[in-house]
């Protein structure tokens, strides 16, 4: 019965979204209709949330009469993974998408009080129409609450690889990010219809962009972290189509974040900013399509269905197509906005946008090129990490090199020589760090040392900018303190995000170039070395888990004779589906990690049991995950800036 209520709620949500689109659409002329449209947005959200709760309930109580639950759950699964199973499948994840979409629609209705009534009505209306498209797809083509005629006794369980805390949280963050850009899309469409893309518009769009971007950053980081410790070979980024699918909206969203600043502060580049606003959600939808349709082969596509891919592609084409058609029609009429000199903050942000767009194009090409070549009748080609290392990395390197200059330049006409004078210290620190690393760390690697130098360049560059703003070491102490505490949160957010990028660059350079790998078949009491660490296999025992059986090795890790960690990596065999996974053990050592995997059982030299033990010493690997986290926190801090509150925008605009 509950499941039927859920199905009903889903249809209700579709109807409410349609009402939202229509009422708010006409609400441009009538306050009453606009209010009704907002009510419909809240109703659509409530109904979708209800349907989602029903699905989670079905998973929690293991109602195998629901096809989706039978395919993805199991009675013996721990509760948290039963709940996470609700978004572990295609149908469930589409419902999660709809949930986010209606939630953002409702959020605009509730928090958008400061917006001009006409613009708000249009945004709510477009958001409603997006809701119609995706809810219709969910109801008619991918119903997560469909019943089975023959109810199985037991479910087929969720892929054990997905039974993991980081991955349970990964889709909600990722989708909150993806779908957050739908609001930006709606604002772009509404602004284009109104013919009003100006500083005030950019100010209203920016908080939504920041929120979506921060959430997407967290989502991607969680996914990468999961791949790092769950897939068992210590890699954290594979340039896999599914990863690229989430990375493209992030890159283009980052470009949007920066170009929206130009539009907000200087009224310049409105056309470009609105183009990026449309493009970002297009890339989000493309990401959803690529992952869910299975047109591309990937290591971790877990819920694919080619026939429904066509439907998703249609939704993508219609939505993006109408957005860009509107853009082509209206953009020529936009006021080009303020002027600026070649050396200015505007120019540096445009350069940022050029490089980020090129980077996005690279990832897009690298992801879709095999399909394009095949469609043109050419050979099938593979595009792997070597391609991205040769194209994407140089672009990013260039972007990182110019990054610290941007915040030091004034708007409109900057003092290039002055900026150079102010940043020489950062350049010196970076150079010294690079040279030191090249001299000290063995084996010697020039490119990796450049990477480390760039990391320091970004971090010290960000600190330089704060010192400039506070006139540290130049003004009296009291003045510095006053300026320091008076810095707006947006400035702190930017500093933190840029530092986070540097922290990430440090970690990535170190880990990718100086990781140490060792593998050996160890019998009991035998040991092996990985870097400066010695590993000794003490014993191997059996573990009876809730839904699996495991072999657990106990490995003592010593450094210079001192015990630093006792590792307990496992090799699990799941009852349902009969798969095996390895549960990696990670010993954190400062910024480094010793990463230990227990492999298959083998015969030792004298016929005794032995286990293939694989271990990595990953230097500075923690920074790879810490960096993006800092960036997301930076985004959140910026978001809490008073200047970004929506109502402030209206007061300014009215004044």
């Amino acid at each position: 019965m509950i499941v039927e209520i859920g199905s009903f709620l889903l249809v209700l949500a579709l109807a409410a979204s349609a009402a939202q689109g229509a009422l708010s659409g006409f609400g441009v002329r009538s306050r009453v209709l606009a209010g009704a449209g907002e009510g419909a947005a809240l109703a659509a959200f409530a109904a979708t949330a209800g349907a989602f709760l029903v699905l989670i309930h079905a998973f929690v109580v293991s109602d195998f009469s629901v096809a989706n639950v039978a395919a993805n759950s199991h009675t013996e699964k721990p509760l948290i993974y039963k709940i996470a199973g609700a978004w572990g499948s295609h149908e469930g994840s589409m419902l999660l998408w709809c949930f986010m979409l209606t939630a953002y629609g409702a959020a605009v209705a509730v928090f958008g009080r400061g917006l001009p009534a006409r613009l708000k009505a249009r945004v709510v209306s477009v958001q409603g129409l997006l809701g119609v498209a995706f809810l219709a797809y969910t109801v008619f083509a991918s119903n997560p609450l469909a019943r089975l005629a023959d109810m199985p006794v037991e479910g087929r369980s969720l892929n054990p690889l997905l039974q993991d805390p980081a991955l349970a949280a990964h889709p909600p963050f990722l989708y909150a990010g993806y779908v957050g850009f739908s609001v930006v899309f709606s604002f772009a469409v509404a602004g284009l219809i109104e013919g009003r893309i100006d500083a005030a518009w950019a100010r209203w769009v920016r908080p939504w962009t920041l929120a979506a971007w921060s959430l997407l950053t967290v989502g991607i980081t969680l996914g990468s972290f999961w791949a790092y410790y769950e897939l068992g070979w210590g890699g954290w980024w594979f340039w896999d189509p599914v990863e690229n699918a989430s990375f493209m909206p992030w890159l283009i969203g980052t470009a949007l974040l920066h170009s929206a600043i130009v539009t907000e502060k200087r009224g310049a580049l409105p056309g470009w900013t609105v183009f990026l606003a449309l493009a970002t959600f297009t890339f989000s939808m493309l990401g959803g399509f690529l992952v869910r349709s299975g047109v591309l082969t990937s290591v971790h596509t877990f819920a694919v269905d080619p026939t429904r891919g066509v439907l998703l592609l249609t939704i993508l084409g219609l939505t993006a197509g109408s957005g860009f058609a509107l853009f082509a029609w209206r953009a020529p009429a936009l006021n080009p906005g303020g002027v600026f000199a070649p050396i200015s903050r505007e120019s540096s942000l445009v350069l940022n946008n050029i490089l980020l767009s090129a980077a996005t194009a690279t990832v897009l090409l690298g992801t879709l090129y095999p399909l394009i070549r095949e469609a043109l009748g050419g050979d099938t080609v593979s595009i792997g990490p070597p391609y991205f290392n040769l194209t994407f990395l140089p672009l990013m390197l260039l972007a990182f090199l110019v990054l610290p200059f941007g915040p030091l330049l004034a708007w409109k006409r900057g003092d290039g020589l002055g900026a150079l004078q102010r940043i020489w210290a950062a350049a010196g620190v970076a150079l010294a760090a690079g040279v030191a690393v090249y001299a000290v760390v063995s084996p010697k690697r020039a490119l990796a040392s450049v990477g480390v130098a760039v990391g320091f360049w970004l971090i010290v560059g960000a600190i330089t900018e704060v010192m400039e703003r506070t006139r540290a070491f130049r003004a009296p102490w009291r003045e510095v303190r006053r300026r320091f505490t008076g810095l707006p949160r947006g400035a702190w957010g930017m500093t933190l995000a840029h530092m986070g990028l540097g922290v990430f660059a440090l970690g990535a350079s170190f880990e990718s170039n100086w990781r140490v790998e060792a593998a050996q078949a160890l019998s009991l009491e035998q040991g092996m070395d990985v870097g400066a660490y010695h590993l000794r296999l003490d014993r191997v025992g059996a573990v009876d888990g809730p839904n699996y059986l495991a072999e657990r090795g106990v490995i003592t890790v010593t450094k210079g004779g001192e015990v630093v960690c006792t590792a307990t990596p496992e090799r699990r065999a799941y009852y349902a589906g009969g798969q095996t996974t390895s549960e990696v053990h990670i010993c954190p050592r400062g910024l480094d990690q010793v990463y230990i995997v227990l492999g298959e059982r083998r015969q030792g030299a004298h016929g005794e049991h032995a286990w293939l033990v694989r271990a990595y010493f990953n230097p500075w690997v923690q920074l790879i995950f810490l960096g993006p986290l800092l960036m997301a926190i930076g985004g959140a801090i910026s978001l809490s800036d008073r200047r970004l509150r929506i109502a402030v925008g209206r007061r300014r605009a009215a004044a």
Binding site: G232, S357, V381
Partner: protein
């Protein structure tokens, strides 16, 4: 479902190249072989190099490449051999060929086009900003008035 199974099978193909049973005795040759492995696709896996894959075919390919490295063949020769046998699909780094022109030139074309657009923008702006002769004269007069 078949695809799903394939995906799962692929996931369990994990970092196999470091297996001690397979290694070459000469460490420099082994290092060369490992570098090559990272550029070669495991054809039956979903999207992995043979360095990572535990699939049977990946193991066979590793053996062949190790043998060829030990026999003293160059990286280029080994790549050629693989392409002749399996097609371009086997290389994770597509070759610089006419068919791949768009792929390799694309990213840099975007940068160049973007740079040209920026130049155009700056030029148009600066001409729009420049004052006409009349305006210059008026400005001069105004400035003079202020000085007085």
């Amino acid at each position: 479902m078949k695809r799903l199974l394939l995906a799962i099978a692929a996931v369990f193909c994990i970092a196999a190249a470091s297996d001690p049973a397979e290694r070459l005795s000469d460490p420099s040759q082994e290092a060369r072989a490992r570098t090559l492995f990272r550029e070669v696709r495991c054809l039956v896996c979903q999207n992995e190099s043979i360095d990572d894959s535990e699939a049977q075919l990946a193991g066979d390919l590793r053996k062949i490449i190790r043998q060829q490295v030990a026999a003293g063949r160059s990286d280029a020769q080994i790549r050629q051999f693989l392409v002749a046998r399996y097609g371009e699909f086997v290389l994770l780094k597509p070759p610089f060929s006419a068919g791949n022109l768009a792929l390799w030139a694309g990213p840099f074309a975007v940068v160049i086009v973007g740079g040209l657009l920026l130049l155009f923008l700056l030029r148009r702006r600066s001409t729009a900003e420049a004052l006409s002769e009349d305006e210059e004269a008026r400005l001069a007069a105004l400035l003079q008035n202020r000085d007085e």
